[in-house]
Every structure is written in structure tokens, then in C-alpha cells.
Amino acid sequence: MNQSSIIDIISPIMAGPSSSHTAGAVRLGLLARNIYNAKPDKITFKLYNSYASTGKGHGTDKGLLAGVLGFSVCDKRIKNVFNTAEAKEIEYEFEFLQDFNRHPNAVDFVIEGGLNMFISGNSVGAGEIEITNINNFMVKLNGKYNTLLLVYDDVPGVISTVTGIIQKDKVNIASLHCDRSGKGKDASMCICIDGDLSRDCFKEISDLKNMYIVRYIKKLES
């Protein structure tokens, strides 16, 4: 079991009022921002269940947008994010939905721009979050580790090649999560690592054949 740390318990330092509905929302937005890794033209936020029914009162909508804009969980601008210059540069809308098949605090980011992307995540309590789906690949990303996210052609040997390159950096792999849409089709890999990946290593992986999406997502500050 992945135990929490003292630091998780006595943080985050955040703009209120709810760790799951405000800070969690900012953190989900920050991860979505890092996964997309470019300036979007338009974002549609789909809030589900408790996020939909109490989101406005908790500033969940403000938090999600603030995160996507790169504000930290304790940024004083969150409260008035709709009026910030940053927010006026992108188009965004919110949908409030109920779906009992989804987590009580679930959100989808539908991002349009140079690349269209679909990202889903949940706020699982006390500001802790998880990204569970990127472009319909099941992933496992919680912002607690530096994470390498790859989407690539499902050909033999990719996992060993990638982990071999990471090994050169002498960093330890904390977890490895793979998924694919079908044999020989697209595949995804989410590698959480202890420590930091070097630029060379990242480039070597980016330059591999058959890689569509390569992202190095830094862990979130607590």
C-alpha cells in the first residue's frame, strides 16, 4: 500500500475552502496543463457528481481553470481567476453533469488546439488527485512523482528500450503502468521515477521511433 507521508497530512497550503474541491481542482488543472504542454485554444471542463453539484460554491470551476493557467494551489488570484489577464487569453466553458459510473469528484478536460486531447481525473480526498485517462488510455498519475508519459506504437521491445535509457540516468523506477488500445495498435506507458530525468535521457526517448506523445511531467509541489 502506498502510505501517505507527514507532509501530505500537514499540507497543502492552499486557497480555501475545500481540499478536494478547490486545491484538488487546481492540482488536476496543473497536471492537465503539463500533460497537454502547449497553449490550448479552448478547454471544456466537464464536472461530475459532487464536483458538479457543489463545485460553484467551492470554487471548483475557478480551481480547475487556475490550474490549467499554471497558478499554484495557494495563488491569491484563484478567487478572481475569471478576471485575470491569463484567463482572458483562452476560451473555456464548464459543463455540470451527473453520472454515477464516475467518481464523486470527477472531471474531464476536453482540450482543443494544435493537438486535441482528452484528459480525465478524480479528486480523491485531502487534496490528493489522480489522472486516470488520457486520450482513452488508462493511466496512473498522481503528481507525487516525476512521471514520464509515453504514447507509442505497440511494437515489441519498447518497454525494455525505454527502461534501459532511464537506467543510464541511474534513477529508480517507482512504478510502471502500461496500457494499449489493441495488439499492434497504440500503447501507453506511465513511468513514475524517484529523482529527476536528465535532458539527454528525455531526448533519447523522444527520438525513439514510433513515439507519438512524450511528456515529462514534474511532480506537483505539496
Binding site: 500500500m1 502510505q3 501517505s4 507521508s5 507527514i6 507532509i7 501530505d8 497530512i9 500537514i10 499540507s11 497543502p12 497550503i13 492552499m14 486557497a15 480555501g16 475552502p17 475545500s18 481540499s19 478536494s20 478547490t22 486545491a23 459532487s50 453539484s53 457543489t54 460553484k56 460554491g57 467551492h58 470554487g59 495557494c74 491569491k76 484563484i78 478567487k79 464523486p104 469528484n105 480523491v124 480526498g125 485531502a126 487534496g127 524517484d194 505539496s222
Partner: protein, 292 residues
Amino acid sequence: MKHSISTFRQLYYTCKEQSKQIFEVAIENEVDKGDYSEYNIRLQAKKTLDAMKEAIKEGLSSTELSPSGMSGDDCDRLQKRYSNNRSILGTTAEKIMKYALATSEQNLRMGTIAACPTAGSCGIVPSVLVAYAQDNKIKEDAEINALITAGEVGRIISNKMALAGAVGGCQAECGVASAMAAAALTQMRGGTVKQIINASALALKNVLGLTCDPVCGLVEIPCVKRNPFLAIHAVTASELSMADIMSKIPPDEVVDAMEQTGQLMSPLLKESSKGGLATTKTALALAKNILK
């Protein structure tokens, strides 16, 4: 590999065998897990402590209402009361109640707070810790030790159950915060390891089954006022424990009971706002006005 600490029993015996305090063992345990250094942990505790003090300061001087308009001016009322009338509990208790309200109100007006362990329960640990430290000239280092002690208590409980109202009801949020505050206070008062852990267990035992039924689904009613209540509750736990009044049920079993109670509680009473206070006639009328 050393076994990391995941129960109060392990924590107690490790402290006893090594003649160490809880915060020392907690830091070593955390460092052993490899994600953080002692420096990281003390630095986060210092940042959290600073944020707590800042939230108290800002909360004491604000009467701004929450976006819903339902709350935000109660700390001001209490301060006015205490400027002319003393509390029967003494000045530290006055401070504790004021600070708990100040922090909690700061939270609902989207001010900056430290979620400890959660935002809804953010007034409990700081009010007890900061008020006692101010009135007893506790140095910052000792405040940080007390906060780490509180964090260790929260961490051990969180190994058994998620600290979220939606999972365990308010016992898992304000209840756990009260147990953490009881530990921090007992640490600052020079309590033994046994007294500190026992204080947490006493506090937890007395909140089993506490529901999370926020009106309109917002962290306001009953959350804001619950913060000063459970801050004083933490003081009671520490008082009893310093007198060696022991929980007959061992701390880990209390946590098991709490986890079981959380599971047995209806989802209607766990942060869904579909029962309890949230569905009273008045709450439904408020919801109609606020959530349109």
C-alpha cells in the same frame, strides 16, 4: 529493510526502545522511506506553521462573507464578546476559539490556509497549537516538533482510512484534526509518548460516527462552528491524558472502530448533502437561494 511504522503500537514501542520522542521517530521513519529528507520535512512544517499564523492574523481582522453569504462574521462576534466578557475557561481557551473561527472563516472566503489534514478542518490544529505556544512562550522549533507530532498521528490514522468526509464522515476530518491537535498540545506540555498517543485516542473515541452533512454541500454549515468545538475537544483530551486517564480501548483499535464506523455510515451522511442537516427545511430553502 527496516519496517516502516504504520500503527500507534509500533510508534509507541519504537519511541520506547530508542528513548526518543514521537517527532524524532516520525522524521526518521519518513526519511527511511526515501521520499523526503529531515530538512524537507522541517521546512514544510515551518511553511505550514507560517501559513497557519498568517491565516489566523488575516481571519481575525476580516468580516468578509463567503461567496454564499452564509458565513464569515462569527469570529468578529466572538472577539467583541471577549473584549467585554471573559470566558470561564481562561484566556488561552478564548484564543483557541477565536483562532479556530478566524482560520475556518478565512478558508471559506477562499483565503490561504493550511489543510491540516483537510481544509474543512483547517482551524483545529493551528488554533490549539498557536494559542498555547503564544501563551506559554513555546519556541518555534518546539512548535514545529508539535506539528510533526500531529502530522504523525494523522499519518497513522490515514493508513487505515482516507481522511475525507466522503469516505468516513466528519470523524475522518474534524475528528482526526482534533486527535492531531490533542497530540500537538500534549507534546508541547511535556507529555510522555504514551500520554500523547492516548490523548489522540481519547479525542477520536469521542467523535465516532460524526456525520458530514454540509448545508448546500459547502464547507460552511456546520463546518465553521465545528472547528472551535473540536479544538476545545482536543484540549479536553489532552487534559484527561495528562492526568493519566487512559483509553481502555487501545489507540489502534479505536482507529479500526472509526474505520468500521465510517463504512457503516450511510452515504447520505458522508459529504453528499443528502441527509442530516443538509436536508432540513431551512437548509433546503437556503440551497434554493444559493445554488441557483
